[in-house]
């Protein structure tokens, strides 16, 4: 059957807190970085992306920060809600391509 030996890193927060989810990416030549949200039993859902020539991008309640020096990406969620509970994946893509390489996921658990 499936490999069930792996466990996702988990971030547990209270409703209303701000959440920060981190990701280390692998390829210094990657051009776009994307965050996806995946709820249980569903496909990944696009949240926000950022190009490599930027270091910060804001959306509705979300902010993505990019530090190319240390190849680090973070997703900040303001005023976290129970509906934000999901697994969050970062992904990267090379310039001129849209094929994605996903990083390890982080499970976000939001308590009411």
């Amino acid at each position: 059957g499936e490999n069930v030996g792996l466990h996702l890193p988990t971030l547990s927060v209270q409703e209303g807190d701000n959440s920060i989810i981190n990701c280390a990416y692998s390829n210094s030549a990657s051009d776009y970085f994307i965050w996806y949200k995946q709820e249980s039993g569903k496909g990944p859902q696009f949240i926000i992306d950022i190009r490599s020539n930027m270091d910060k991008r804001q959306g509705q309640r979300v902010t993505v920060l990019l530090n190319k020096t240390v190849k680090h990406l973070s997703l900040q969620i303001a005023a976290t809600q129970p509906g934000d509970s999901a697994v969050y994946f970062c992904a990267e893509t090379l310039s001129g391509y849209s094929t994605l390489t996903f990083g390890k996921g982080t499970m976000l658990l939001v308590s009411p």
Binding site: G1, E2, N3, V4, L6, H7, L8, D31, Y32, I34, Y36, G41, K42, G43, P44, Q45, F46, D49, F89, T93, S95, G96, Y97, S98, T99, L100, T101, F102, G103, K104, G105
Partner: protein, 114 residues
Amino acid sequence: DAMVIQNPRYQVTQFGKPVTLSCSQTLNHNVMYWYQQKSSQAPKLLFHYYDKDFNNEADTPDNFQSRRPNTSFCFLDIRSPGLGDAAMYLCATSRDTRVYNEQFFGPGTRLTVL
């Protein structure tokens, strides 16, 4: 609403018995992707079609094949499923591959191999 549809949502097959998973899209996108996602792991790209051009990832086993008879439909064929092929299979689409653009994912098909 334009969307990516996968059928069935749950599929049970026997060890070694061929199985086909299907994906359709109403987005009229040129590119369709198949990913394998095992429990607690990230999606892993198996292959993709840009229009009729098939692009296989180097580490995708020969046991996995794909067909795209038209723009709207794409199929994943597993010729001889093993226990290790039990996973969620995700279909995604995008407008193009030559520049970055957003991928839209279907809900996935959960495959169980007995």
